[in-house]
Symmetry: C2
């Protein structure tokens, strides 16, 4: 028997593609170059705004052009952190070739609660990655087309919607699609850095950016940077190394030997990221780029490096386009990571269970939707402003880095594999360095917005732990003696109540079904709201050949039908030895609007009766098949497509 | 057994007062003076803006001070219409002493469809009455306190909310409360007119209003008014006579002999209304009041009449306060009329049946809420601007006047009571005059906004007729052979399906209940989404002492559980001779948020199965009683107040 599909399913299939079967779940294997493109877009793309944020932090302190003296040293410090991180994650990749995310590593080595801290911290940072990347992508766009600036929020939301839709359809981490923007960005950045280098070494050097009045104002002031300012600028640069963990999450996607290939790719990625970050910071210093509303640093650098010629202009546009695409792609990385991490936590009963459910296209749809909504809210609240988002960013990632490296250190001590001493040294160093960076970020950015995350993460950890308690309590209660409970004898009595509103075919159906049940006691009950109607009904009932089934009238002067039924049922079930079945005739309408013409008393009664143990509510359906004359043609069409006509008799 | 009440009921009782029992439905009898206050606030209050609208229409045409020459003649024309209406309604009161609204009269004499036109037209006008009166009341307020002007919309919405709340509580049309503002307004208006008259006859005459620049601009221009302009101004004044029908709606509330007292009150009301309308128009002409944003005509007139002395100022404030209160009270009249009329139409199956339902306090709550929302939307869309609302107003009322008077004329011809010839003359004159006014209003205000109503009313009539067809079709189908259907034998087979997700106490409960039903075939079915879980479940099931009940596995590779159950049930029920009961274990949680932790598959299955005839869905409840440790104290409190603990076993 082939049943027609309903409307919402057909709509879903149109938007998302046909349903995928569970056995279609599979993973692509990627070669190292493609894997680099797939897993590194988040990390590499952060160079698009990291140097800018360092400069911005320094300039805001009002030390004028002196600020540019600190940019390269601070970048070097962050590249050192990056190097330590890369070597640390080499260890993780080898130890956890199946899935080496911070959550798994922390849970395995430090316990369930620290793992929740890592998990929650990472989830908040994934949300921020989406908001930051998309906002920075829009900034790349409006740096070229200034007219777009007022529409940055809707454009950012559109990007989020498109990425979410793609992920709900189940975008395969298909290498080629991802490779293009990532390699284009690499080409754009290295060509820019190369041209800048050549001009400096062999030419007349780079000219400074032509500043507008606002930028001139930003350069006012003079002085030297204090330690706190330098640390703050360093913390702002921390955004550059987020995303480094992506490869360790994706080891199973590499070709065999997976862990070796993943390690090599990690090293290449680290090298590229470090070189680009340094190169861009150096260029920005050379041209004295002053970030301002509507013009990113990358855009100013590209402008200054390429000059005003036709080829220069083409290269400028290419640079901006590549930057925009890789940033949007970076948001996509979070759409792969967030739902997966949330499903891990949910499987451990530390997140709502719905997050473990694979949707129409085998992806964790609920996680995707949750991420999209959260990121969209952030974008709206902070008006797609990267500088406002950055202070919230990176605290979470560095917290998870610290926990993950500490977990690895513990593991070395515990397992003592060959070479564990050097492994311990690397991971312990990683843990200490990332802990220091976490503290620096939290301290220097606290008043700029990081406090939100610092307050939010512990609250969320409390919530997920609370939630876990609830799941565990439920599970314990539901499974206690369950095997014995299955054998329990049936209750002594079975009473069936049919609620009668009027004598019609729905009542007839309910009575027919009631008799099928062979109860100990069958009662027809009318809840009397309207005395006149009740009297008429009683008269009509008397004419029916149902001598064995008298109609019981239950006065309901306060017109609270649900309450009246509840009282009746509670009385019957009060002895704990009576199974009460309440049959509610329910009309099934052909068109949705027909339903609107009637109130939802049946549903309300069912909800109210849920309070009584042993009160079983049964909806006995009656299918209305006829259409009113006026809409005959329409209704027939509706029936043909609504998917319900096939099983109406 | 005393069952505790649930939270929503207790909240409702706090906000609305205790539940009223149906037999507490009663009507107050009013003496003529109080009845005047209760039923006339709508009609009398319209003098607060009617003269203003006439002046505004004339001034907008740019004929300058010449405009004031037309105000009194136009007012006289409208007072003549009023006189005809009053005499017409004298007839109606006598003929329909129980309820003489336009809907009843039209239905009785012209048929059901014309009655729907009258009904729909009146309902739209009741909505407008609320919007107009409340907006005009707020205008009276901001004429005194100019700072309030920017907040006029929220204030108007607050008034609507308060009136709606009062009506949901079931404000008795309690005379004293209503009498105060009505009589205060009468006093205010007649004192103002009296002082104006005395100053004109015995003093130096009234001085012109001191105009601001905006008002000076409005007086620019010169010329005479053309016929269309005069008719347009006349149409704008039509707002004054809306509400005249209220007394005929309320005849049963008078003391015996009801119809005589009602008639006398109608005459008094007509006299007062006519005199006030004329007086205010005359005063406005004398002082050359120019309505402007933030200053109503009444406010300018009162200002000019009373001058700047201390007593004058007190009288001015009193006038404004009385005006505001009677206007808000006028909105209250619609809250009595709209739900009653809607319930009449719903009883005739021309409106959604929910409108016939008396709520917590015996009022037609759904009608009250519908009116409040509609009026609030209008106020927001038109920004509480009386001048923008007025063009939409009065078309509906005059349409219903015409139908009602035509119905009365027809009645005289049909019944030929004593004196029917003079009655026919009066009502026929009334029908013709109101028809002419209707056409004038529709024509002159068409482009100013009346087109909305002229387009909307026929659409609404089509909708209610369509809706009636649907009700009638349903009723015919449901009652066809219903008495015979009640005797139909039960179906040949009864299959029971228990859906098993895991072996726990909810499944145990469902199996226990299933055995109670003594079915022909009892099947335990697991819809297998996760192969591993399914295999584990199968192994566990094998250990149960349920040899007679094997667990059937139904693979569901597309993870669409509802669909899978639907297919299973549709196959079983396909012969039309099998009653299928699907038992769905349902956990009943202690706290609302516990429910959020689980998806709503049970409800989704029930919804999907509604498509299959003879598929009866039973929810077998299992009550979770334990709380998780973390929230123990909170939960116990919750249980104690939630009203569910009393019947948990």
């Amino acid at each position: 028997m082939v049943l027609p599909e309903n409307r919402s399913f057909r709509l879903k299939s149109k938007v998302l593609g046909r349903t995928l079967h569970t056995d279609q779940l599979q993973h692509e294997r990627l070669n190292n170059a493609t894997a680099l493109a797939v897993f590194s877009s988040d990390a590499l793309s952060s160079t698009a705004y990291a140097s800018e944020e360092i400069i911005l932090t320094l300039l805001t302190a009002g030390i004028g052009v002196a600020a540019f003296g600190y940019v390269v040293p601070i970048t070097i410090a962050m590249v050192i952190v990056l190097t330590i991180l890369v070597f640390s994650y080499r260890q993780t990749i080898k130890a956890y070739p199946s899935a080496g995310g911070a959550y798994i590593v922390t849970k395995d080595n430090l316990g369930v609660i620290p793992a929740q801290v890592a998990g929650v911290a990472l989830l908040t940072d994934y949300i921020l990655t989406v908001s930051v990347s998309v906002s920075a992508g829009v900034a790349a766009l409006y740096s070229v087309f200034h007219g777009v600036y007022p529409y940055r929020v809707p454009i950012a939301l559109a990007f989020i919607a498109i990425i979410a839709w793609g992920n709900l359809r189940g975008v395969k981490e298909s290498g080629k699609l991802f490779a293009i923007p990532t390699f284009a960005f690499l080409v754009a950045m290295f060509v820019m850095i190369g041209v800048g280098l050549i001009k400096t070494i062999f030419g007349s050097g780079l000219e400074h950016v032509v500043l507008n009045p606002e930028q001139h104002d930003a350069l006012k002031g003079a002085g030297a940077a204090g330690l706190v300012l330098i640390l703050h600028a360093f913390a702002s640069g921390g955004a550059a190394v987020t995303g480094v963990e992506a490869i360790s999450n994706g080891v199973p996607a590499f070709k065999a030997p997976e862990w070796k290939n993943a390690r090599n790719t990690l090293m290449v990625m680290g090298g590229l990221l470090g070189a680009m970050f340094l190169g861009i910071s150096w260029l920005a210093t050379q041209v004295q780029a002053v970030p301002t509303e509507g013009r990113t640093v990358i855009s100013q650098v590209a402008d200054a490096v390429y000059g005003n010629g036709a080829i220069g202009h083409v290269m400028y546009i290419f640079t901006q386009a590549a930057t925009m695409f890789i940033l949007v792609l970076a948001a996509n990385t979070s759409f792969a990571d967030f739902p997966r991490l949330a499903s891990f936590q949910a499987e451990d009963s530390f997140m709502p269970r719905q997050l473990t459910k694979r949707g129409h296209r085998l992806v964790f749809s609920n996680g995707i939707v949750a991420l999209a909504i959260s990121a969209a809210v952030l974008v709206v609240v902070l008006q797609a402003d990267v500088s406002k988002l950055i202070p919230l960013y990176a605290v979470g990632v560095f917290t998870s880095f610290t926990l993950s490296q500490a977990g690895m250190a513990r593991r070395h001590v515990r397992i003592k594999e060959a070479g564990w001493r050097s492994g311990l040294f690397i991971n312990a160093l990683g843990a200490v360095v990332t802990l220091v960076v976490t503290v620096v970020i939290a301290y220097t950015k606290f008043t700029h917005g990081a406090w939100v995350i610092i307050v939010l993460v512990p609250i969320l950890v409390w919530v997920v732990v609370r939630l876990n308690h609830q799941y565990e309590t439920e599970k314990a209660e539901l499974h206690e003696d369950a095997f014995r409970a299955v054998e329990e004898p049936i209750l002594r009595r079975h009473d069936v109540i049919v609620l009668i509103d009027t004598i019609d075919r729905t009542s007839a159906r309910a009575i027919q079904y009631a008799r099928t049940l062979i109860p100990d006691d069958l009662r027809a009950v009318h809840i009397a709201i309207d005395e006149q109607h009740a009297a008429e009904l009683a008269d009509e009932w008397a004419t029916l050949p149902l001598a064995s089934l008298p109609l019981e009238m239950r006065l309901c002067p306060d017109r609270r039908i649900e309450r009246s039924v509840l009282e009746l049922v509670a009385e019957l079930a009060d002895d704990g030895q009576t199974e009460v079945s309440v049959l509610i005739p329910r009309r099934v309408y052909r068109a949705g609007w027909h339903k609107l013409l009637h109130d939802r008393t049946a549903e309300a009664i069912a909800r109210t009766l849920a309070d009584v143990p042993h009160a079983n509510v049964t909806f006995v359906p009656y299918h209305l098949t006829r259409s009113s004359k006026g809409a005959h043609v329409h209704e027939v069409e509706h029936g043909a497509v609504s998917g319900t006509s096939g099983i109406h008799n």
